[in-house]
Amino acid sequence: MSDLRIREVANAVECILLVSGEPVGLDQLADAVQAPAEVVAAAVALLRQEYAGRGLEVQEVAGGYQLGTRPAYADAVRRYLGAAGREPLSRAALETLAIVAYRQPITRPEIEALRGVRSEHILERLEERRLIKAVGRKPTVGRPVLYGTTEAFLRYFGLRDLSDLPPLEAPGGSPSATAPAGTEEAESQER
């Protein structure tokens, strides 16, 4: 592949990232610019290199690429938008969200057993913020709702995917899986 080809693809990719309101996957980019994935990957790498030292950067989030502002200029952007910014999650909400993220799919009683307090209200709030959602029902007595995290969850924390979560310190020092089982199931139901 020629440098010229990569240059052309990089320009097209840049245009797509500008207009997109969502992270764009590598395959989506490849489809749009009609180039093989490896050329697109090289083009993205070129863009990232060129954006170094600029206000914008190409960010890898929720399984795709998106243009985002650099944190250093947050104050200016916020002044312009006139928004106070979203309220951060409460400590209890964050803790509950962490349990859902690492143990998904998980039911409310299972979460409550871990936290030792009722968590109904917090789960409702997290669902309202679209950070978690019902991904199915557990085939046990009462068929309790199973919760999982959403794509908005990945965007909220700037994660590429669930394997990008900070490692969970395993109790008792035994190794723990960071990518929880049942993730595939949750994703397939999202489609």
């Binding site: 309101g21 929720a62 947050a74 349990i99 030792g116 900070p166 109790p171």
Partner: protein, 248 residues
């Protein structure tokens, strides 16, 4: 950003000073003498504080924490039944299970701290919002504004004399009535219009609950153009509902 959250409630007793959740954690770990813990005083102090500054999230969180403490203390005060006749081995297993669960919980607590850092970083990053951003259900209305409007209507209800005995008004009925009213007024109706002049206290309370329920179910929009301006309620048209809650 962070200053929108109220200062955490600090418990001050003879033996402990710190936030409530820390106290609960210590109590759960068995490091607090629950019998000596003046829960009534702590609760009274917290209630006094909510009279000055009522943040619904803060209150919800703290009430759970206080309730969990009360439950722990109640258990501690109750006479302990003699241990059931179980094989000693099984008791050991149970202890092990609880220990495991506590360790797992601590791991989540730690990882929540890491997520907090990611959150703080991402709040400094701006990206183009999704094409159809979730429409704000409450534009310009804080819960306190809705609460104040509700208080005003309640006051009005109080001025009326005798109350008609309950007629079995249900939230479901009032929800249907509000939706019917909004369907007839696509331009929206003022908050007051939801509460007829002759409404009883019960009707007012049930209607307010119905309104909150409709907000929760994404059936209505509540808009306040400016602070202290009249609050208007609109029906949400079906095309405003996005089929999937989450894009992607």
């Amino acid at each position: 950003m962070t200053d929108t959250r109220p200062e955490p409630f600090i418990v001050r007793t003879a033996t402990f000073e710190g936030p409530l959740d820390q106290l609960l954690r210590l109590a759960q770990d068995g490091q607090v003498d629950l019998e000596a813990l003046p829960l009534a005083d702590i609760t009274a102090e917290y209630l006094a504080r909510t009279r000055q500054d009522l943040d619904p999230d803060d209150v919800t969180e703290n009430i759970w924490l206080l309730a969990a403490l009360i439950e722990l203390k109640a258990r501690a005060l109750l006479p302990q039944p003699p241990p059931p006749e179980e094989p000693a081995e099984e008791a050991g297993q149970l202890e092990e299970l609880l220990e495991e669960r506590l360790a797992a919980y601590r791991a989540f607590r730690d990882v929540a701290t890491a997520l907090r850092a990611l959150e703080a970083y991402q709040q400094l990053v701006f990206r183009r919002p999704p094409e159809q951003p979730d429409e704000p259900l409450l534009s310009g209305v804080a819960l306190t504004d809705l609460w104040r409007a509700f208080q005003e209507v309640l006051e009005r209800g109080k001025e009326r004399g005798a109350e008609i005995p309950a007629e079995g008004i249900t939230v479901a009925e009032r929800m249907a009535a509000i939706l019917a009213l909004l369907a007839a007024h696509p331009e929206g109706v003022p908050f007051d219009a939801l509460f007829p002049r002759e409404a009883t206290r019960l009707e007012i309370v049930v209607t307010f609950l119905a309104l909150l329920e409709l907000i929760r179910l994404l059936r209505v929009r509540v808009v306040q153009e400016a602070r202290f301006a009249p609050i208007r309620i609109y029906a949400r048209t079906p095309q405003e509902d996005r089929p999937g809650a989450e894009a992607g």
